[in-house]
């Protein structure tokens, strides 16, 4: 098993506020669109600005496409979370696919050969605030990202 993430341990991950939790099984491209739509709507309800709504939809897209392309089956979970009185949106992608052999490599820019420059996990990591990845070769992969809503209601401008 191999993991990459921020210094916080797993247990410190934010608490889910139950009512706002959705999940989509990813089997077709239509499921990707559904997951994006749900994510975008939840982001809007939480008060994220339009660009951040689009970034969240893009993030969901990337994670869901990885499931669609590389795993037999997998699920996207989208949840509202809170920590230290801040509100955020958490996206979890969990699959039972082949896993990622070399996580350090997968997190390097330019590793993904498929989609050119903007593709893959490094781009997702840069758009989100928290990033956690766990993968067991032969068993599956789990990616968890969180975007926190800042006071102005948008995201960072970077």
């Amino acid at each position: 098993m191999d993991r990459i993430g921020d210094k916080r341990g797993w247990k410190e991950f934010p608490v889910v506020t139950e009512p706002y939790s959705e999940q989509v099984n990813i089997a077709t491209e239509a499921d990707i669109v559904t997951a994006r739509q749900i994510g975008r709507n939840m982001a809007r309800q939480l008060g994220f600005g339009t660009i951040m709504q689009s970034r969240i939809a893009t993030t969901i897209s990337e994670l869901a496409r990885n499931i669609y392309l590389y795993a037999d089956s997998g699920t996207i979970f989208i949840e509202q979370v809170e920590r230290d009185s801040r509100v955020g949106l958490r996206i979890t992608a969990a699959d039972t696919g082949p896993g990622i052999a070399d996580i350090r490599k997968a997190m390097e820019d330019g590793y993904s050969t498929s989609g050119g420059l903007g593709a893959g996990l490094p781009g997702v990591k840069r758009m989100m605030d928290d990033f956690f990845l766990e993968s067991v070769p032969g068993k599956g992969t789990r990616v968890i990202v969180v975007k926190w809503r800042n006071e102005a209601g948008g995201g960072d401008p970077g």
Binding site: K7, A57, T58, I103, G110, L117, G118, A119
Partner: protein
């Protein structure tokens, strides 16, 4: 795909979105973005493409049309940034491929086999934090029952530390035939390092010789992280003490030799500070905690014990390895 086709595809996407305002079209837009990037369409060309595609959808007011001149102009600056990616990437990859070669050279300098003497079981794990290691270790077999070992940590990591490591290797190799004792070897190496290295760099080292006929380990220490001696009879760990300045600190430093005798089941654990220096959550790992981990694995064959400790410690720090990691275990069987 011609420019015309691209414009048509783009206009169709806009039209579909207008009619359905659907997430499906937004998903299509993202995929188109990937395609455009893969085709090296620059941001300024994209802005221009957008302006042209709009014309196919309906009557575009003059002020909107003109505004794309401005957007394109601004996007050229973004295009310059975008075009620089290729240059950064190729420069970086050039260096990375050099480092891969240098790293293979460095691996070739390290001993390929562990010593095998009757009655003593040796284990080793050495993992660099980056591609090139600034930790050093060596084993030299003198005869059927005696071998020497070195474990060292060079200040810093990466390329400079690796260059220094290759120096250490040849300096030690040059001493090979003289059969000096550990203290004399450190004294000699101190002079080499002191003479040839930048004053800001230094090396910590333990150099020792094991005699499997009498199971005595004679060693000297140059400012190195203390190892551990495990006494089976008491089931207890002791620090493997030693005094002496790190190599390269001052000319003419001298070193003292110490000796320990191993009883059956006793272990010697030598390590670099990359083993102990790790963050666990927000706190630093303590040497006492390491002892509890050692305790958990002692008794296994030396190599297995070393492997297990490495895995457990890596898990503890969430697979981050901030410093080069080296551990050598000697276990009297």
């Amino acid at each position: 795909m011609t420019d015309y086709d691209l414009e048509e595809q783009y206009a169709r996407l806009l039209r579909d979105y207008r009619e359905g305002k659907g997430e499906a079209q937004l998903y299509g837009a993202q995929q188109l973005g990937k395609q455009l990037l893969a085709r090296n369409v620059s941001p300024e060309e994209l802005a221009d493409l957008h302006g042209r595609a709009l014309e196919r959808l309906g009557p575009v007011p003059e002020f909107v049309r003109e505004s794309f001149q401005i957007l394109t102009e601004i996007m050229i600056e973004y295009g310059n940034a975008y075009r620089s990616i290729h240059s950064w990437r190729s420069r970086h990859q050039q260096l990375e491929s050099e480092i891969a070669v240098a790293s293979a050279m460095q691996q070739a300098l390290l001993p390929q086999r562990l010593p095998s003497c009757p009655g003593v079981d040796v284990g080793l794990v050495s993992v660099p934090a980056k591609q090139m290691s600034g930790d050093y270790y060596d084993f030299v077999c003198h005869d059927s029952h005696r071998f020497s070992l070195a474990i060292a940590d060079i200040t810093g990591k990466g390329i400079p530390a690796a260059m220094c490591m290759s120096m250490l290797k040849y300096a030690i190799d040059g001493l090979g035939e003289m059969e000096l004792g550990p203290a004399d070897i450190l004294r000699h190496l101190n002079n080499v390092v002191e003479r040839n290295l930048d004053p800001s760099m230094f090396v910590t080292m333990v150099y020792g010789r094991y005699d499997a006929a009498v199971h005595r380990f004679c060693y000297a220490t140059a400012g190195h992280e203390p190892g551990f001696l495990y006494r089976r009879a008491e089931d207890r760990f002791y620090d493997l003490e030693g005094r002496g300045a790190a190599l390269g600190i001052a000319p003419g430093s001298t070193y003292e030799e110490r000796e320990v005798a191993l009883e059956p089941g006793d272990c010697l654990i030598l390590l670099t500070d990359g083993v102990t220096e790790r963050k666990v959550g927000r706190a630093y790992f303590q040497r006492e905690e390491l002892v509890s981990y050692l305790q958990g694995e002692v008794g296994a064959p030396a190599q297995e014990m070393a492997n297990r400790l490495y895995r457990r410690l890596l898990l503890l720090s969430q697979f981050e390895l901030p410093d080069d990691y080296t551990m050598i275990i000697l276990r009297r069987t």
